[in-house]
Symmetry: C2
DNA sequence: CAGTAGACGAGACGTTTTGTCTCGTATATA
DNA sequence: TATATACGAGACAAAACGTCTCGTCTACTG
């Protein structure tokens, strides 16, 4: 039977995970859920920087050590708390039209970022990732990579169908799709609204589509 | 003669400034410069999160109170330390071609973000702004607004010359210009290089120019 | 040419948060 | 039923923030 990672210092070579052995059978499901729920509640009430591990523990009716037993830091808890949001909100659209697919993706993303606490959570996680390269790795993998991969698929399908030119830079296209969204989320100089999404999609299509 | 703001609590209605009365004649120019230099040194050595007020004070050979006398928080010091970089690096290009103007702007921005510690500094400041709305205001004003205004001028000139369509959304166009750059700076999934800038400018022009 | 206000270096201090450690208790597996 | 181990509670050290108070030095002011 494998020992738990908090007993022996393994995991030193790999990019250190932000959670520890979540498959252990003896883990209390009640605690696990209480911690994640308390995290989301606190983030909604006080914003990312208002969440502390002690506050989570108190709200969840849990000892602080119970949190540190299963996660390596606060960001790990918050990531897991919002991983569901992020995962569930990425259904691959397949309307037959690249423009409509992109519209759906960006509409859903901007909606979830502005109408739930997910926007504040992700902004805080990006902020934290600036000080913590391991966190940055996990963040990219968990919240960025899947959306980028999905968008890539959509665009490649568009090229195969002859809807899009085959010679634009795919990585840059994906950056142009998401970059402006994150930019408005983080800088907050203008709202992430429908007009914005519509203009963005239109612009992308003008660039990428067969003339 | 006006009292200093740290003696009486004025500045409560306005967005609280991150510096305090920098015009005072009795301020030691030696300290001022030593603090800003130490800040940049430390940020280059240890990154944004490795900079502490105590470390700045020690490196500058200065009392901690001397820092808090003139700035309200660490972020204020870092902003002032990099304000010069940001300001000096925005010469308005005027080549007569929108594409060339944009190319110059983005080339210069990406160069300064990747070859100096300015990139790490701004990423850290954006991170900090997520937890501090007043900081966010100052950041937008100091590091975002001037570039946006300049870009707006360039695009408006292009419209006047008949080089650009008059009917694209100006704000979104500026977001598409800078959003992908910040996105790569903060997420670090791909480099901020020449290819990227070139593709981005090309895409913008395809969208905005008269067909 | 003094006198004085105020900036300065040094560092103690209280606060907050992090992450570790150690109890005694409760619970699930064997 | 026995044992391992997760749990709640909370003490603890370390780090950083921001405030406060010394005694010193310097630059305006009369």
């Amino acid at each position: 039977m494998p020992q738990h990672s908090h007993d022996t210092q393994i995991d030193e070579s790999q990019p250190q995970p932000l959670t520890k052995d979540p498959s252990c059978r003896r883990r209390s499901q009640r605690c696990h859920q209480a911690i994640l729920s308390a995290t989301i509640e606190l983030l909604e009430e006080k914003g990312y920087s208002g969440v502390s591990v002690e506050a989570i523990a108190a709200r969840a009716g849990v000892g602080k050590q119970t949190i540190y037993r299963w996660w390596t830091c606060k960001a790990g808890v918050i990531m897991e708390a919002y991983a569901d949001y992020a995962a569930k909100s990425v259904p691959m659209p397949e309307t037959g039209s690249v423009k409509e697919d992109l519209r759906q993706i960006l509409h859903q993303l901007s909606t979830i970022l502005t109408t739930t606490s997910t926007g504040a959570a992700l902004a805080g996680l990006i902020a934290e990732a600036q000080a913590n390269p391991e966190m940055a790795d996990v963040f990219r993998e968990k919240f960025v990579a899947s959306r980028r991969a999905m968008t890539r698929t959509i665009l490649e399908r568009g090229i195969e169908r002859g809807e899009l030119r085959p010679d634009f830079n795919m990585d840059v296209a994906i950056d142009v799709t998401y970059g402006p969204v994150w930019y408005r989320l983080l800088i907050k100089h203008a709202p992430l609204d429908e007009t914005f999404v519509e203009e963005l999609v239109t612009m992308l299509m003008v660039w990428m589509q067969v003339q």
